[in-house]
Each structure stands twice: as C-alpha cells, then as structure tokens.
Subunit: 201 residues, 2 copies
C-alpha cells in the first residue's frame, strides 16, 4: 500500500527515469563531440538519451550548463579550502594547495569527462570565452577569500591569478597525460616553474 502511494507521487512530478541527469549529460557530450556544440539541439540530446526535452530542462537550464554546471561546486570547494588552509602557508601556496585538493577530490574521478569537455570547448570560440569568464570569476572569488585571510589587496589578486595560471596549465598537462599521473603532480610542477619565472630564471 505504502509503495503504491510513493509511485503515484513520483508519477505526478514526472515519469521516473534511472539516472536521467547522467544519461542526458553523456548524450550531450557525445553529440557535442560528434557534431560540435552549435550543431546540437536539446531535442537531439533528449532523443539520444531516450528522454524528453522537458526532462532535459528539469536538470539543465540550457545546452551550455552541461559543460559549465560544475563551476559553482568547484568555486565553493576552492573558497572553503582557501579559508581553511594552515596560517603558515604563503598566499600562493594556499591557492595552489586548494587546486591540488580539487584535483584529487573533484577532477580525478572525471578525467574522461574533463578531456571530452576540453576538446568541445577548444572547438568553439563562444565556449572559450565562457571558460575565460568562468576562470576570471574563480580568480576573483579566490582573491577575495585570500583577503578574508588578511592578505593585502593586490597580493591577493596576484596570488590568485598566478595560481590560476598554474592550475590551468597543470590541468592541460593532466588532460594530455596518458600515464594516470595525478593532477596535483602537474600543478606542483607548474607552481615550481612559476616560482622560477618570477625569480627571473
């Protein structure tokens, strides 16, 4: 009796589909890769996933959100790690350590998705611009988090932006790597390279 009631409730909200979100995301990524982002419609994504357009819009505001929906989660993760980092770390080390933790806790499980996403974005100017804006927003949020730790105004921006560059380039190496090295290793390499560049080497 109880079971029947629950099933009815779900039917009112919409037909229940196992992992609808994941199926829609996979279908979207496959189509973006095959035809390009611009040449893919929500109708096609839904059809490929065996679901309806209405179901798509229950999980994603638009086509772009399949690619950029994780930005908020990443920003919250990084800001929390910056605020909680040991006081002894320098501002740049705080930023780099936060990105290394994101590598371990967020990105490692999503290497295939990240690789596919990178290729889709590289093929589309508008998406590249959106990615730039996302990274700039992230830099600004991390600079603000450093200021809340007492770091000076411009030092906070410089550390967040330089750390962001090390992350982006480390991310690219990680995407290209075929040996399964963790992202944090690449970020550490880039951080060391950044220190050398700043020291005038």
């Amino acid at each position: 009796m109880t079971v029947t009631v629950i099933v009815r409730k779900i039917e009112v909200v919409g037909r229940w589909e196992p992992d609808a979100r994941g199926r829609l995301a996979s279908a979207a990524m496959a189509l973006y890769g095959e035809r390009g982002f611009d040449n893919t419609t929500v109708e096609e994504i839904a059809a490929r996933a065996g679901l309806t357009e209405r179901t798509f819009f229950r999980y994603f505001a638009d086509k772009r959100e399949v690619l950029f929906g994780g930005a908020h989660e990443l920003q919250e993760f990084l800001v929390a790690h910056v605020l909680e980092a040991p006081a002894a770390l320098s501002p740049l080390e705080v930023i780099a350590t936060a990105y290394m933790s994101a590598g371990d806790d967020i990105f490692e499980a999503r290497r295939d998705f990240s690789r596919a996403r990178q290729a889709i974005i590289a093929a589309n100017t508008e998406l590249q611009e959106r990615e730039l804006i996302k990274l700039a927003t992230l830099n600004a949020a991390l600079a603000e988090a450093l200021r809340r730790r007492g770091v000076g105004d411009s030092a906070a921006s410089l550390a967040a932006e330089a750390g962001g560059s090390a992350f982006r380039l480390g991310f690219e190496r990680w995407i290209e790597d075929t040996k399964g090295k963790p992202m944090s290793t690449f970020i550490r390499e880039l951080l060391d390279e950044l220190k050398a560049v700043a020291a005038g080497e």
Copy 2:
C-alpha cells in the same frame, strides 16, 4: 585650379569634417558615461558630434569599437617590444618592460580617456567580459612572442599571464592616482609585489 580639383575629389568621398573621428569618440565616451553604454545609440552619438550615422560607421564598426579599437595597436606595440627586448632580460622582465614602454608611449597621453573608459566598462557586464577576452588574447600573443625568443612553452604562458596581472593592477592604480605618477612606476611596484608573492612572502 589645382585646389578646386582637390576639393571636388574630397566631396565625392564624403563631406569633409575636421577631426570627425575624434569628435565621434568624444561624443560616444560622454554619452556612455552619462547614460551607460547600452542606453546610447549610434544616432545619438552622431547627433552629439554634429555628424551623421554614416560618418560614424566610416570610422567605427560598431559602438563597442570606440572602446576597444585601440587593442590591436597595443598588441602590435607590445609584441614588437617583446621581440626586440635585450636577450639578457628574463621572460617576466621582458613582459613587464614592454608594458612599461606602452605606459610611457601609449597610455600617458590618454589618461583621461583611459579613466573614462575604465568607468564605462566597470558599469557593464558585457563590456567587462569583452575586456577579459581582450586581455586573454593579449596574454596569448605575448606568450607566443616569448616562445619566438626561445622561452619554453609553459614558462612563456606563466610569464605573459603574471606580467599581464601586474599590468592590469598597475593600470588600475595609475587610473586612480591623482598625482600624475607615470604608469611604469606602478607596473614596477606590482612586478616587485608579484616576485614577493611567488617567493612565498
């Protein structure tokens, strides 16, 4: 007789207007500042300048180009300076020196324009995004110029991006400064601060 011929030639091309470009740019900047970028039309800019819309489009592709038309010139200037910098300079010093030269040779004469432009852009999200894209394009071009000097792939990106951050923050200090200090002084300050940040201070 010769004079008459010349005047006729000009009339074929369009009514001659002294400094039409400058008058249109000034009118546009004044209107963007008064009403905001989005609330200003080309018709209004032309009317304020005492010229026609057709004349506006002879000098600018659209409203935005009044603000971003100088990007190409700046990029060419910086790339040339990076390529011609003394071999003894480190990659980061090469970038910083190029920006300092741009400060002296391009920006100092345009402090009022730069200040007005900054305020207009700060008030409009779309223009801020355009500015980000412009700066990222500049970073990529300067990284490429460093590579042509023989700098390694990621060191070139790190130096161009860190130098770009020092420029942007130095530019902001210069805009806010009321004592007429040259932009190059501010860029040097930020560069020193960047070195301290990278050294873990």
